[in-house]
Every structure is written in structure tokens, then in C-alpha cells.
Amino acid sequence: MKRSTAVFLQGLVIENPLAIIMIGLCSALAVTTSVANGIGMSLAMTFVIVASEFIISLFRKLIPESVRIPIFIIIIAAFTTMVDLVMKAYFPDLSQAMGVFIPLIVVNCIIMGRVEAFASKETVPHAVLDALGMGLGYTWVLVGMSVVRELLGNGTILGIQILPESFQPILFFVLPPGGFLVFSLFISLNLFLKKKWLESPLGCPDPEGGN
């Protein structure tokens, strides 16, 4: 398999940021009470990670080693501020629903982790692919969780009634404890997928060589 494909694919399952590395969990559990929030958060997060990895990879030779962390933080914070202001201006309802979690993207460990471990050492195309892979890995878990939670907790998907009216919504799933429970099942599912993936012909050696 070509390295660029491997870089892109590893974020989906094998190194899924949420279910395997278990970082950046806060937003994932908090906003998945409805599908619209899940999609909105995923888009915001994917934009910030792609933009940050792109910029940092582009300037990786100019950023001095000793002050790299503050520089990374400023770059990430700048993109987060953009997303925050755009959402406030064009999607005020969504922004209201997600509250503090949009500004909190700035301290989302997924971004900091990938920027530090990957983008600061790799070429621009690889960094962007890695960011897209991580963003997608984040997105499928988030959208999956929000579908389960909204469907069972409210009987709807994207606000459209799916289950028959006679279905009594299980409020538990949209409350915080439900978030923890659904997430635990998604980790379990992802571990299962990872096992299958590594056994299948697709299973590729880690592109970074180690592990």
C-alpha cells in the first residue's frame, strides 16, 4: 500500500483518535445529543485540524524547536476563533447548542497531538491527509454516537420522526450517563473493527514504522 493511503487510513480505525488513543473526548460526549450537533462539531473540528496541520507543516522548518508549543497553540487558537465567529454569525442556533465546546477545540488534545507528533515533521500533503483521516475518524464516531442517542432518546434523526409515535423515548440516552454508555459501546465496536482490519488483507503495517 502506498504510504499516503496508509497515512490517510490509519486515523479511521487503527489509530482512531477517540476510541483508540482516547483523546479529545469532551466534545465527543457532550455534543452528541442530536445528529445536527454531531455533524456541526465534526465539521468544525475537521476544519481546524486540517488548517492547523497544513499551516504548521508548511512552516515546520521556520518554527524554532524551543518555542514550538506556544506557536502551535496560537495557530490553533486563531483557526478556532475563526470557526467560533463564523458559527456565531451564520448558525446561531447550532453555536448556542454547542456552547463552550467550540472554543474548547483550541485545547482539544487530538489537534495538539497530531500537530506535535505528525505535522511538525512531515511534508504538507502527508500532513493534510493525516488531518483528513483523523477528522474522518472523529466524524464517524461522533455521527454514529449522535444517531444512536438521538434515535433512542428522542425517536428522531435530524429532527425527523423515525420511530413510530407509540415509541416511548428513552430519555437516558440524551442525558449525560447515556453518553458514557454509548461511548463505551463505540470503543468496543472500534476495537472489534481494528481486530478485523488487522486480520484482513487491508491490514497494513504502521506507516511510522514502529509499533
Partner: protein, 192 residues
């Protein structure tokens, strides 16, 4: 009930930052392997949270707001917290080596702890006064410590229990958290 007590109890129990709001989950999962470590982390968080709240509240209300620079909030707050933590680390290393040894290892981790940043944002968006923001940050930090200690205690029990194979490892931690969160929902009627 005095308003400060209401803010404190709400931050500590009803809106527990980890179990009810899912903020600060990384250290909650990563650092709760034993009770002693959780308490150490809890105190370090309390210290930084109060410090960060005072600094950011002052700066926002005396500088950013009067000058109309509110849109710089994210950038300014994260820089303040990062530099504050760094300063505290230097100071502790020099002035209180014993304390540094017990607390120092947690400090760098706290910079990227979303709980700290979230509390500073909350103070602004809830419109807390200076005193209220201190009470609020103490309440949140103790709630953080409480949740961590609870999970750490449960983890030592789970280590020797028979767990279904598909939940072994990380998934069981979230099932435990879910159960603790259910019990915390019982606090919801505490404040009228």
C-alpha cells in the same frame, strides 16, 4: 440559600464538570489509576483553576471588555493559562521543592486541560462577579477531584472482577462513569 453557596453546590454536584458536562475527560480517564494520584491531580487542578479564574476575570473585565477586544478571548485566555502554569512551575521549583515534587508532574498536563479553560469562559458567560468566579472555580475543581477519586476507587475494584470480554479494558471505564453519572443525577433537585 446564599447565592455563593448555590454556585458552589451547583458546580460541585449538580453540574459536575466531568460527570454532567464531560469537560476534562482526558485526565479523568488517564490519571485515575490510583486514589493517591487522583488526589494530587485534584489539588493541582484546584490551585491552577483558582489562579486562572482570577487572572482571566481581571484581564477580561479591566482590559478586553473596555477596549472592545472580546473576540480575542480564546487567544488571550489560553496564553494566560499557559504562561501562568509555567510561572507557577518555576516558582514552586525554587521556593517549595517538596511541593513541587508532589504536584509538579501534574502541572504541564494542566495547561491543556479543557476544564481550566472552560471555567474561565464560564465565568465570563455566566456574568460572575470576582468573588463568585473564585467560588465557582473552587466548586468545579473539587467536583473534578471528587469524580476522579470515585473512578479511581472503582477501578481498583474492577481489576479483580469478571468483566464481559467486549467491555474489557477501556470500555468498562465508561460504563462505570455512566453509573456514577446516573447517581449524580440524583442531586438535580438539591437547589430550587
Amino acid at each position: 440559600m446564599p447565592i455563593a453557596l448555590k454556585i458552589f453546590l451547583s458546580a460541585l454536584l449538580i453540574n459536575n464538570i466531568i460527570l454532567m458536562r464531560f469537560i476534562g475527560l482526558c485526565p479523568y480517564i488517564g490519571m485515575s489509576t490510583d486514589v493517591k494520584q487522583s488526589i494530587g491531580m485534584g489539588f493541582a487542578v484546584t490551585f491552577v483553576m483558582v489562579l486562572a479564574s482570577t487572572a482571566t476575570w481581571t484581564l477580561y473585565n479591566l482590559v478586553l471588555y473596555p477596549l472592545g477586544l472580546e473576540f480575542l478571548q480564546i487567544l488571550v485566555f489560553i496564553l494566560i493559562i499557559a504562561s501562568l502554569v509555567q510561572l507557577v512551575e518555576f516558582y514552586l521549583k525554587k521556593a517549595a521543592p517538596a511541593l513541587y515534587m508532589s504536584m509538579g508532574i501534574y502541572l504541564p498536563l494542566i495547561t491543556t486541560n479543557c476544564a481550566i479553560l472552560a471555567v474561565t469562559f464560564d465565568n465570563i458567560s455566566y456574568g460572575h462577579s470576582f468573588f463568585q468566579s473564585i467560588v465557582y472555580s473552587v466548586g468545579v475543581a473539587l467536583g473534578f477531584m471528587l469524580a476522579m477519586v470515585l473512578l479511581a476507587g472503582l477501578r481498583t475494584r474492577v481489576r479483580t472482577s469478571a468483566i464481559p470480554a467486549f467491555l474489557r479494558g477501556n470500555p468498562i471505564l465508561f460504563v462505570l462513569s455512566s453509573l456514577v453519572a446516573v447517581s449524580f443525577m440524583g442531586f438535580a433537585g438539591l437547589i430550587k
